[in-house]
């Protein structure tokens, strides 16, 4: 079972309900572009962060999710550092990632799956098992070439004694209770 908060909601919840928190976060944006001018990934983005926030205000979430921009946020927090409105654009980007994950948007599988397998590992072990994450991620991406991109690194890591083979899953995850409780609390709210 993967993380409930991301997977139980799924399609049943309206996009509007999902996006409410992002709207709340970025409503007060003044479109000054401070965030965008500082973004190290701006060059790779197909839409400026400022435009994303404009779309948030105008309720054009479809447009946001057709864009890859939010997945390109590397959480460097340059934007949050200087937002004159005191907003947290990096956090809002994370929130958009959450939505994409929760709604399992196919166009954002690459990012959301990675997070999902990461958390799956955390849930099971309490701590992250890097190899376990990668294995799960690569398997789910169903891209036979993808693992090769990381093959040399994986080999290097293993040879340096930095990766151990994942332990077999045994019954209850260490943080099952916490994940479940989070889901429960989120549900209530």
């Amino acid at each position: 079972m993967l993380h409930s908060a991301t997977e139980r909601k799924g399609e049943g919840v309206s996009l509007e309900a999902h996006t409410a928190s992002v709207r709340q976060m970025m409503r007060a944006c003044i479109q000054c572009g401070t965030c965008s001018a500082s973004c190290p990934n701006a060059g790779a983005m197909d839409m400026t962060p400022r435009r994303i926030w404009r779309c948030v205000q105008m309720d054009s979430f479809e447009e946001i999710f057709t864009s890859q921009t939010f997945t390109l946020c590397s959480s460097c927090y340059y934007c949050s550092l200087r937002c004159p409105r005191g907003l947290q654009p990096a956090d809002a980007m994370a929130a958009l990632k959450c939505i994409a994950a929760a709604r399992q948007m196919p166009q954002h599988r690459s990012s959301t799956l990675f997070y999902r397998y990461f958390l799956r590992s955390v849930r099971r072990n309490g701590r992250v098992h890097e190899m376990e994450v990668m294995t799960g991620y690569f398997a789910h991406m169903k891209n036979p070439l993808l693992p090769l991109r990381y093959a040399s690194l994986g080999w290097k890591l293993t040879s340096k004694g930095k990766i151990s083979l994942p332990r077999p899953a045994r019954g209850k995850g260490k943080l099952d209770a916490l994940f479940a409780k989070v889901a429960q609390v989120e549900e209530e709210n």
Binding site: R27, C35, S36, A37, R50, R51, R54, R82, P84
Partner: protein
């Protein structure tokens, strides 16, 4: 307790000076205190101010009874008979009720006896301490002994006690022994150091001894207590963490023995909270370990200064005006320093101002301070520490946009056509009446580039060090550009001393630490008797500051009057009438201070005496020594005690400083003020040789003799005043003006053409911040009704008018009665304004398109139900801020926010879009802009070349199409309601204004004498305007203008006769060719052709002695008394050597 008829004004910046002068002009006495050692506040550093690109501060000086005050550049000092100026002074206590308040004043000794200082500067020459000069915002340096404002010679030198090392060199060179160092005092100042660690005690002792204090030490609390009971201790430094008795306990117990003992706690980071607790128990402050020696010594020195200060002086006042200004945000402390402090090419606006100044580091040349390279590209970054929630600044600092525009224009003036300025902003706030055009001119004439957007951060180019800015262009492109210089518009912060002052007086502050004013008032605080003016209630431009200061003066005057103060006409009359000198030949008594022999170098005195004695009019010459001492002054008084002498010439150093006492002296002798001249004998001290110095001094004295010889003792008769005011217009401004005049005891006729009083308040219900306007209207009407001195004429219009200050004749035409003529002394025009009509955006074709006023009315009478509204668009700046109505109406943006929030709160499901050009939410109304965004109101800027398009068909509701620059596409919104902000247009008939001698500006508003300095009066005396007749403004601002206009009116009404001043124009009829050039030339309308058209007449009350007439008249028929051609030629003859 008797009413002292005195007001206290705290702060001598522009607002303080304006308020003080206003009160003095209306006959009250004023004590003007300033914590800095100089007058002028921030404006002493700003040479030119928007929107005129020049100064003009002198225009604040009185227009009537000019002789009672100084009549020269205000930046060089101020004098007024009824204003007692106290520099380097703070208030330490304040108590009592309005009318009867007791204030304690404490003057910080600055080490120099101001009366003795001759301003020679020898002290600064030898002073070894060099510190950044705050006057030049740190761009230059000065010494520890210095002149606070270089162009203000009235203050002399002072010592910066923080920087002074007490070396004493200055005292040894001072020719007048004016310098008294605190060194001796320090030795008598005993400091007790209590710490269990020997190393700490030893280091502290060493440092403190080096600074000249006496030090004792104790290793424990118990030991300390013992020492306290035995010997005098002025200050105790106590460690918090000590074994046995800790610092806090020591504090408590020591204060039981010595309740007044000053204690500074010493603390490590871990125990800071304990230290803070200790401060609540009476510790003065704490010192943080590890010690910052310099900061620690500053704190100790501050305690020393405090304790050594002279005894507080207690004075009785009737009212207090706080005008203590504001401080500025330090970008270094901000989350975003924009390279300030690390990149040397980043300056604050104030620093840039000094850079541009002729008295700045490079004489006004536009060079980079760090490397003196000429500047080609400048970037102005707005909103640094303003409109920034990350620096707790959910407010706009109101003036920075205009300052940036001004500086861009100035820079262009200095840098020429190759200078390129770029201004980064989010909203260009050009909200004052003339500001829009000024901003447009900057773009058109000076090629100022405007960029809407904010720069994330400033990085220095690794190679050149030049600042590099990166921003997101409107098209979504990230742009990087290198500039030579970046100027930061740093925002306002509350003045340093405001919080303690508020605590002392119980004054409420707003969430940002500025003074909170009462609803509908810009000047009333929640403490009766304490009023506020200027930037301490939020930064303001000069225009608003001056209005607010006059309004505060009006309120203070009201309090003084209500509690028994008089307008002191009696005091004026009690002055000895000047002797009649008309028949006496000029006899000049000359008194010269030898300044301890400085004047008499190489026998110069004798030569001087010989030269002066050449003129038979010089009746005697007295040499005296040290006029600056009491003895010296006594010699002067005795020496001049000559009944024959009818003119006095004084030669001394820093003659300006003697003006007040000299004025008093000649008044006692029954001489009019023009019969005394003072010459500064030390002003040429920098001349290369003694000979040239003496020659110039001799020439100055000879010129003064010539001037005095021709001084004219006779003045034209005064102008009598009908002590009755007419107020035209019964809106809120008119009513307030009438009330403010009547409350000072003068009759007012209030004329309103409608059937009831109230004007626009009939349909306005509340303000953006929720203040109740309906209640305000009811209350004001009630107060007018119960004011016996106000005569209200409803349904009455002004049919015609003529006359001049003191005597206007106005024909009032009631709707249902015969016209009658009213005779009155002053006129206040409060004709208001109305919402502009429009045919744009489908207005008039579709019922769902309404104006802001219509929305206001329809919401009130429930013709519009917010529950029924799915979407609403508001379009701002409809036919405003572009030709021909190139001005901002100021009220529309706040109104839009108010209405949008109302709709959104009534129905959160309503989508509200505001289409704007620049949101003008200046000052603290910015917070509502933030609120509106938070509540989901969508703001979309539009450009004038891509305005929104509206299609309206009757079935569907209007559809608005607008270009969203962020999305780069048209957005289409179908709405149930389209609200248009059409702006305000004045309702002041030109013939009404001109009948009283006033003029209208190009937008048909009342043209003030000077937008900045004389904002509510016409250039023609006795005519005032208030409210929206002046320019568009909100209710509280209108009320302030009404109070200001009333204050000005009272300044005239209080005099039964306006006595002309010494410098007044007259006509020599025998020479006059009646060409009437003088009439055209007079800017004050003081000249007119007689009804018979055979002579030119002058109203001496209106004449300001400017001399424009004399310049226009070719044959000397227009004469300015005491600046007559004969007088001037005689003076010139003393200087000019060649034959002409």
């Amino acid at each position: 307790m008797e009413n002292s008829n005195t007001a206290l004004v705290v702060g001598a910046g522009i607002s303080g000076i304006r308020a003080a002068l206003d009160l003095a002009e209306s006959g009250h006495r004023v004590v003007l205190v300033e914590r800095a050692p100089h007058l002028g506040g921030i404006l002493s550093q700003l040479d030119r101010q928007f929107p005129t690109n020049r100064c003009g501060m002198c225009r604040m000086l009185p227009a009537f009874e000019r002789d009672a005050a100084s009549q020269a550049c205000l930046r060089r000092g101020l004098f007024h008979e009824r204003i007692d100026i106290r520099l380097s002074t703070q208030i330490t206590a304040l108590s009592g009720a309005p009318g009867h308040m007791q204030v304690s004043l404490r003057t910080a000794p600055n080490g120099v006896d101001a009366r003795r200082c001759v301003g020679c500067g020898e002290c600064a020459e030898v002073c070894p301490v060099v510190v950044p000069d705050p006057f030049n915002a740190g761009l230059t340096t000065r010494k520890a002994i210095y002149q606070p404002v270089p162009h203000d010679r009235s203050t002399g030198y002072v010592i910066d006690v923080q920087a002074c090392t007490q070396c004493g060199v200055c005292a040894s060179v001072c020719p007048t022994q004016a310098i008294q160092l605190a060194q001796d005092g320090r030795r008598k100042f005993h400091i007790l150091v209590v710490d269990d660690e020997l190393v700490v005690r030893d280091s502290l002792k060493e440092w403190l001894l080096a600074e000249g204090y006496s030090v004792r030490m104790a290793a424990s609390g118990a030991e300390a207590l013992e020492m306290l009971s035995g010997q005098p201790v002025h200050l105790m430094l106590a460690d918090i963490k000590m074994p046995g008795m800790d610092g806090v306990e020591l504090l408590q117990r020591s204060r039981q023995i010595l309740p007044e003992l000053c204690v500074l706690m010493m603390t490590a980071y871990a125990t800071v909270e304990t230290a803070v607790e200790a401060m609540k128990m009476g510790a003065l402050d704490y010192l943080m370990k590890p010690f910052d020696t310099a900061a620690m010594m500053d704190k100790v020195a501050a305690v020393f200064q405090e304790q050594m200060a002279e005894q507080d002086e207690s004075i009785a006042v009737g009212a207090v005006i706080l005008a203590c200004g504001s401080d500025y945000f330090d970008p270094r402390r901000g989350k975003n320093p924009y390279g300030y402090g690390t990149c040397p090419h980043v300056l604050t606006q104030l620093e840039f101002e000094r850079l541009l100044s002729g008295s700045g580091p490079f004489g006004g040349a536009l060079l980079r301070p760090a490397d003196r390279r000429p500047v080609g590209k400048i970037a102005f970054l707005q909103c640094v520490g303003s409109r920034d929630l990350q620096s707790d600044a959910d407010f706009c600092s109101s003036v920075c946009c205009m300052i940036a525009i001004k500086q861009a224009r100035l820079a262009r003036e200095r840098g020429g056509a190759q200078l390129a300025a770029t201004l980064f902003h989010m909203d260009l706030r050009t909200a004052g009446l003339p500001y829009q055009r000024w901003g447009e001119a900057a773009c058109e004439q000076d090629q100022l580039r405007l960029v809407r957007g904010r720069v994330h951060s400033l990085l220095a180019d690794p190679a050149s060090g030049d600042p590099v800015l990166t921003w997101l262009g409107p098209d979504g492109q990230i742009t990087g550009e290198t500039f030579d210089l970046v100027v930061l518009a740093v925002g306002q912060r509350p003045a340093q001393g405001l919080a303690p002052l508020a605590e002392m007086t119980g004054l409420s502050l707003n969430p940002w630490g500025f003074v909170r004013t009462q609803a509908h008032s810009l000047v009333r605080t929640d403490q009766a008797g304490i009023l506020v003016a200027g930037a301490c209630a939020g930064l303001k431009d000069i225009n608003e500051s001056v209005i607010q200061a006059s309004a505060a003066a009006a309120e203070a005057g009201r309090i003084l009057h209500a509690t028994g103060g008089t307008l002191s006409v009696a005091a004026d009359a009690a002055r000895t009438p000047p002797r009649d000198l008309s028949a006496d030949p000029p006899r000049i008594a000359v008194a010269l201070c030898t300044c301890d022999g400085a004047l008499n170098a190489e026998g110069a005195a004798a030569a001087l005496e010989a030269r002066l004695n050449q003129d038979p009019c010089v009746s005697r010459i007295v040499f005296l020594n040290r006029l600056c001492t009491d003895d010296g002054w006594r010699t002067l008084v005795d020496g001049l005690n000559d009944p024959q002498a009818n003119r006095i010439l004084l030669g001394a150093c820093r003659s300006d400083a003697f003006t007040p006492r000299l004025r008093a002296l000649v008044a006692e002798n029954g001489l009019p003020s023009q019969m005394v001249e003072a010459v500064d004998l030390r002003i040429y001290d920098r001349e290369p040789s003694a000979a040239s110095r003496q020659a110039r001094v001799a020439t100055d004295l000879a010129m003064a003799v010539a001037r005095l010889k021709h001084a004219e003792p006779v003045r034209p008769p005064g102008v009598s005043v009908v002590q009755h005011a007419l107020v035209v217009g019964g809106g809120i401004a008119g009513m307030q003006a009438a009330l403010s005049i009547a409350e000072r005891g003068y009759l007012v006729t209030l004329v309103e053409k409608q059937a009831s009083l109230g004007g626009n308040l009939h349909w306005l219900r509340q303000t953006l911040d929720g203040a109740d306007l309906t209640a305000l209207l009811a209350d004001t009407i009630d107060r007018v009704a119960h004011q016996p001195l106000i005569h209200v004429h409803l349904q009455t219009e002004v049919q015609s008018a003529f006359g001049q200050v003191g005597h206007f004749y106005t024909t009032l035409a009631p709707a249902k009665a015969a016209p009658h003529i009213l005779e009155h002394g002053v006129t206040v025009l409060a004709t208001g304004c109305g919402e502009a009509s429009t045919a744009a955006y489908g207005y008039g074709t579709h019922a769902a398109v309404v104006t802001q006023k219509e929305l206001e009315v329809r919401l009130a009478d429930q013709r519009i139900d917010p529950q029924q509204l799915g979407a609403v668009v508001m379009i701002l700046c409809v036919a405003s801020r572009e030709a021909p109505r190139s001005y901002c109406s100021r009220v529309c943006c706040p109104t839009a926010l108010k209405q949008a929030l109302t709709l959104k709160r009534a129905n959160p499901a309503t989508a509200v879009y505001i289409l704007y050009r620049d949101m003008m939410t200046c000052g603290f109304s910015e917070t509502f802009f933030t609120q509106a965004r938070r509540e989901g109101i969508v703001f979309m800027p539009y450009a004038t070349d891509a305005k929104p398009r509206v299609t309206a068909d009757a079935t569907q509701g209007p559809c608005i199409r607008t270009m969203d620059s962020i999305l780069g596409a048209d957005v289409e919104i179908r709405v149930d309601l389209l609200v248009l902000a059409t702006g305000l247009v004045p309702e002041l008939p030109p013939e009404l204004a001109t009948a009283y001698g006033a003029q209208l500006d190009e937008d048909h508003f009342f043209r003030p004498a000077d937008f900045k300095w004389r904002p509510v009066e016409a250039l023609t005396a006795g005519v005032f305007a208030c409210g929206c007749a002046l320019s568009p403004r909100g209710v509280a601002e209108s009320i302030a203008t009404a109070q200001a206009a009333a204050q000005k009116a009272v300044g005239i009404l209080r005099r039964p006769t306006i006595a002309p001043d010494a410098v007044t124009a007259t006509v020599r009829r025998s020479l006059c060719s009646l060409c009437e050039r003088c009439i055209d030339a007079c800017p004050f309308g003081a000249r007119a052709l007689s009804p018979e058209q055979d002579q030119v007449l002058i109203n001496p009350a209106m004449c300001q002695g400017c001399g424009a007439c004399a310049a226009a008249c070719p044959n000397g028929a227009a004469v300015v008394s005491n600046y007559s051609a004969g007088q001037m030629l005689a003076m010139i003859a003393e200087v000019v050597k060649c034959d002409v």
